[in-house]
Amino acid sequence: MSIKVRYFASLKEDLGRSEDILETASLLTVRQIWQCANPQQTLPNPILVAVNKDYADLESLVNDGDEVAFFPPVTGG
């Protein structure tokens, strides 16, 4: 399965990259996607996550072709 992982704002700067393409063998949760993409980094807290541009939680399952995004609390407006 191919999963696109995206990072935004301060998280993107901290990681030094804006996206990863993951190839995974099994169905993973959002939390597992983070661990797979960032084995050395614990998941930041607070963190917001989205799957296919809708808010999701860390236990949501990710399907083939999905886009997963991790980002800090939003500060628009």
Binding site: F8, K53, T75, G76
Partner: protein, 151 residues
């Protein structure tokens, strides 16, 4: 109901004037319009601000703004609503966000407009990075709820 995310500066009053004209909203039903404009101040948390860069998540931002407006329109009888949000580099006094709501009665206009602004602040994927006069820059940490605590 219209959502615009734009990298260009905009005049909020001109935008509303144009929107009213092109949509023809004013057809005898509108009794109340509430508009909120957020502009960039040159000072934040005691530090002089030279400008700001607004990042967003293209596609998700528009989608979330549309959801927010739909939720407001389910809760209050909204005739029309317009949200414009700036992204990219912004200077002090420039508008960051415009929320406009047209209703029949004034309570609904105030309530729906405020609801959309609060939901936007907590849910729409935008991130502000302030460029400081000191030549540093910093990510804005968290949106406040904008209100004084009850006394």
């Amino acid at each position: 109901m219209t959502v615009i995310v734009t990298g260009c500066g905009f005049d909020p009053w001109q935008e509303i004037q144009n929107y009213q004209q092109t949509t023809g909203i004013l057809d005898g039903q509108v009794g109340a319009t509430n508009v909120f404009i957020g502009t960039l101040r040159d000072f934040n948390d005691g530090t002089a601000v030279k400008g700001m860069t607004l990042e967003h998540y293209p596609g998700m931002t528009e989608r979330q703004l549309e959801i927010i407006i739909s939720e407001a329109a389910r809760q209050w009888p909204v005739i029309d609503a317009l949200v414009i949000h700036r992204v990219g580099d912004i200077l002090p006094n420039e508008p960051i966000v415009l929320v406009a709501v047209w209703t029949s009665h004034r309570g609904d206009a105030f309530d729906a407009s405020r609801h959309i602004m609060e939901a936007l602040k907590s849910k729409a994927p935008f991130w502000k990075k302030e460029r400081l006069v000191s030549a540093d820059s910093r990510w804005v940490k968290e949106n406040t709820n904008g209100y004084k605590p009850a006394q």
